[in-house]
């Protein structure tokens, strides 16, 4: 500033702009750094999952294939595989398999898997991560061969269509997540069905009807606090109430089901519903709060009743917010593990869940179980299952966003 000294009184100020700008730049870097660390964490996490979901597998058969077939079983025709299985497995086992799906209608890969698993007793010798497979292949192969000189090596993607469509197995090579996916989907569907209407209703009550009476204030505070209660505590509640006390209802005994105890999808869904309810209510309340009061006044001012006002104006305005808030809350439930562990979701189950009263497993439970297994191949399975879970989650979130955009687009005109 050329004529700065002309300004009266400016001599009492020494702005030191250079220093201040330098400090500013330093801290800006720090802020950017923190953000980068956060993003980096996410990237590492993803890489780690991918790293585990793919890799080299060393496997060996417990039985030599030559005992059953002159050529490697992989080269057998589909019909030969059926014959092989029928011959080698016990009648009971064959009947059970046929009950699930008749052998002759099964796909070739399905049959091959059965042969490997049941007849050849194929097992993993060692399993590597993607990084190992790429950067450290020799060492890995040497290690594996040291364990089992018959080991054969294959590069495997642990996420395959088989992985998605076959049920659970104790053999890592043949394990799939179909039951877990179905369990998760049913659980989440039921949870939405229970929690969404109740949550929205409660939010409407609190936002539109409740005066400042004691009971309403208690409800509000209570909901806020419930939102902060750890999920495992809900698990305990579910265990004590839904699994034990309400067993006749949740096991389906009241409706004639006989084969299960209280550890059913219904129990889990009820628990999950209670868990997400406070969040849904708070979200829905926010959505309702965002509807300007002027809109209500407008409706009242032309002689509308309270419910007419809510139903015709407030809810349509709030519904995109309510729905997205709810779906996001519920989609979080799809990853919730602790309460399911507590109420005792089965960890090993091969049968698809058949309805609300059946026992079930869920994706996060599978992941947890595989993660805590000491063998490396189960980590690979966990990685694959995580990928599936994340995709499911992303789908739910994306659908929530699409839904919101659709609804708000419709509302705009």
């Amino acid at each position: 500033m050329a004529n700065a000294d002309r300004i009266a009184g400016s001599d009492v100020f020494r702005p030191n702009l250079t220093g201040r700008h330098a400090t500013g730049r330093f801290w800006q870097t720090a802020f950017l750094g923190a953000t980068t660390v956060g993003i980096l964490g996410l990237i590492l996490l993803m890489l780690n999952i991918v790293n585990n979901a793919f890799g080299l597998v060393a496997y060996a058969d417990g039985e030599d294939y030559l005992k059953y077939s002159p050529i490697p079983v992989e080269q057998l025709a589909t019909s030969d595989l059926v014959v092989l299985l029928t011959n080698e497995l016990s009648t009971g086992a064959i009947n059970k398999l046929n009950a699930e799906q008749p052998l002759d209608t099964r796909s070739r890969s399905d049959l091959l898997a059965l042969v490997f698993e049941r007849i050849l007793d194929r097992e993993v010798v060692a399993s590597s991560t993607l990084a190992e497979a790429v950067f450290n292949r020799q060492a890995f192969e040497a290690d594996a061969l040291a364990k089992n000189p018959d080991a054969r090596f294959v590069f495997k993607s642990w996420v395959t269509t088989d992985f998605l469509t076959v049920p659970m197995s104790s053999q890592a090579l043949f394990a799939g997540v179909r039951t877990a996916i179905l369990g998760s989907l049913m659980l989440i569907g039921l949870t939405i069905a229970i929690a969404l209407p109740i949550g929205t209703g409660a939010a409407i009550y609190l936002q539109e009807y409740a005066d400042k009476s004691l009971i309403n204030r208690i409800i509000e505070t209570n909901i806020y606090n419930l939102a902060g209660v750890p999920s495992i505590v809900y698990g305990m509640l579910g265990l004590a109430v839904f699994v034990r006390v309400l067993e006749p209802l949740t096991s389906g005994a009241m409706f004639g089901a006989t084969d299960t105890n209280g550890r059913t999808i219904l129990s889990a869904a009820l628990t999950m519903a209670l868990l997400v309810l406070p969040v849904i209510i708070v979200n829905a309340q926010e959505a309702l709060k965002a509807v300007p009061d002027s809109l209500r006044q407008a409706a009242y001012g032309v002689g509308a009743t309270r419910w007419q006002t809510i139903w015709h104006h407030v809810l349509p305005q709030a519904i995109p917010g309510v729905l997205t808030g709810s779906i996001l809350a519920v989609s979080r439930a799809i990853g919730e593990t602790a309460p399911l562990i507590v109420i005792g979701a089965s960890t090993f189950i091969t049968a698809d869940p058949s309805g609300p009263f059946s026992g079930f497993t869920a994706l996060p439970i599978q992941i947890y179980n595989w993660t805590v297994q000491p063998q490396a191949e189960f980590r690979n399975l966990a990685g694959a299952a995580i990928l599936v879970l994340l995709v499911l989650l992303l789908t739910l979130n994306a659908s929530a966003i699409i839904l919101r955009n659709r609804l708000s687009a419709r509302r705009a005109n």
Binding site: L17, G38, I39, G201, N222, V241, P278, I281, G335, I386
Partner: protein
């Protein structure tokens, strides 16, 4: 205009035959009553939930504490938790819980707030439009995934840095660090909301007085958003304390009172998850002890929530 106006019928106030009292009389509206009742029931369910939690936890805890094998005093002061041997001292579990939470907050708080500041004050709109959802994706990732990450990445990393002898396979440090990473987006998101909620006019006021961006941010915007930041912190702590899967996977299954983060030590939540995951018979001491632990957890998190709410209200009063 006048033309149109006069063609529009209006209630004729001159009409002496109208019974105005009847016209204005209240009409019954059954729908209104029924709907309101139903909605109230929905709201009341939350009360039932709390009552349920209190009843269940209280009831079973009572059974636990009245068991001849258990000593309430020992529960709150004991330094050994060994159900098999009848040792029910909660401190090892609480200690591990606090340690993992503390590590988590040390990671999450600066990272979260710094990231929030960057997003809200510095990032160009386009960068923010990408970064914020990315962080929110991180917040939406199930905790079991973080547990997996802790066990399969952070633990090996720590071990390769500090040596396999120092760092056990299961350890609190790994669990805490990952928990911190998990909480970063939560805190960043909540803090960013709080910062963004500070009216633009306040920033303009500061700039208008010749403040630099940093001065505006740190000395004007941050204090104005303080209530939100504190709330974010406390919610973060509460989340860490109640977090189960990461510790269940990465922190280990040995309950021991240790202050070494590289050792395994089971947390409250981890213990509940591990024990309840197995087969246990209803009514056994193992079973009821879990409820006593859950009650402890519930009280801690409830306390944190109440404090956060109180703080938020207090600050809001001061600044509104």
């Amino acid at each position: 205009m006048t033309q149109a106006l006069s063609s529009l019928p209006v209630t004729d106030p001159q009409d002496r035959h109208v019974d105005w009292a009847a016209r204005l009389r209240r009409k019954p509206r059954p729908v209104e009553t029924v709907v309101q009742g139903l909605l109230f029931l929905c709201g009341a369910i939350s009360i039932l939930t709390t009552l349920g939690i209190l009843l269940v936890l209280g009831n079973e805890s009572l059974a636990f504490f009245t068991d001849p094998e258990v000593n309430v005093f020992e529960f709150f002061t004991g330094t050994h938790w060994q159900p098999q041997t009848g040792d029910f001292g909660v401190w090892p579990l609480v200690n591990a819980t606090l340690m993992t939470s503390a590590i988590a907050m040390v990671v999450a708080m600066p990272l979260g707030i710094f990231a929030a500041i960057y997003l809200s004050e510095y990032a160009a709109p386009r960068a923010k439009a990408i970064l914020k959802p990315t962080l929110e994706i991180l917040a939406g990732i199930p905790t079991v995934v973080f547990g997996f990450f802790a066990l399969t990445f952070i633990t090996p990393l720590l071990r390769s840095i500090f040596g396999e002898d120092t760092v056990q396979i299961y350890n609190n440090a790994s669990a805490g660090l990952v928990m911190g990473l998990m909480i970063v987006p939560l805190i960043a998101s909540m803090s960013e909301d709080a910062l963004s909620a500070v009216p633009r006019t306040l920033r303009e006021g500061a700039y208008g007085l010749g403040a630099t961006k940093l001065e505006t941010t740190v000395q004007v915007v941050l204090p104005a958003a303080l209530s939100g930041l504190v709330a974010a912190f406390i919610i973060g702590v509460s989340r860490a304390v109640g977090e189960t899967m990461i510790v269940a996977i990465a922190a280990g299954a040995t309950s021991q009172l240790t202050f070494n983060p590289f050792e395994a030590a089971e947390t409250i939540t981890g213990h509940i998850a591990r024990i309840s995951g197995g087969d246990l018979s209803y009514g056994s001491l193992d079973y009821t002890s879990l409820f006593a632990l859950a009650l402890t957890l519930f009280v801690i998190t409830l306390g944190l929530n109440l404090v956060s709410r109180w703080l938020v209200n207090r600050f809001r009063e001061q600044y509104d």
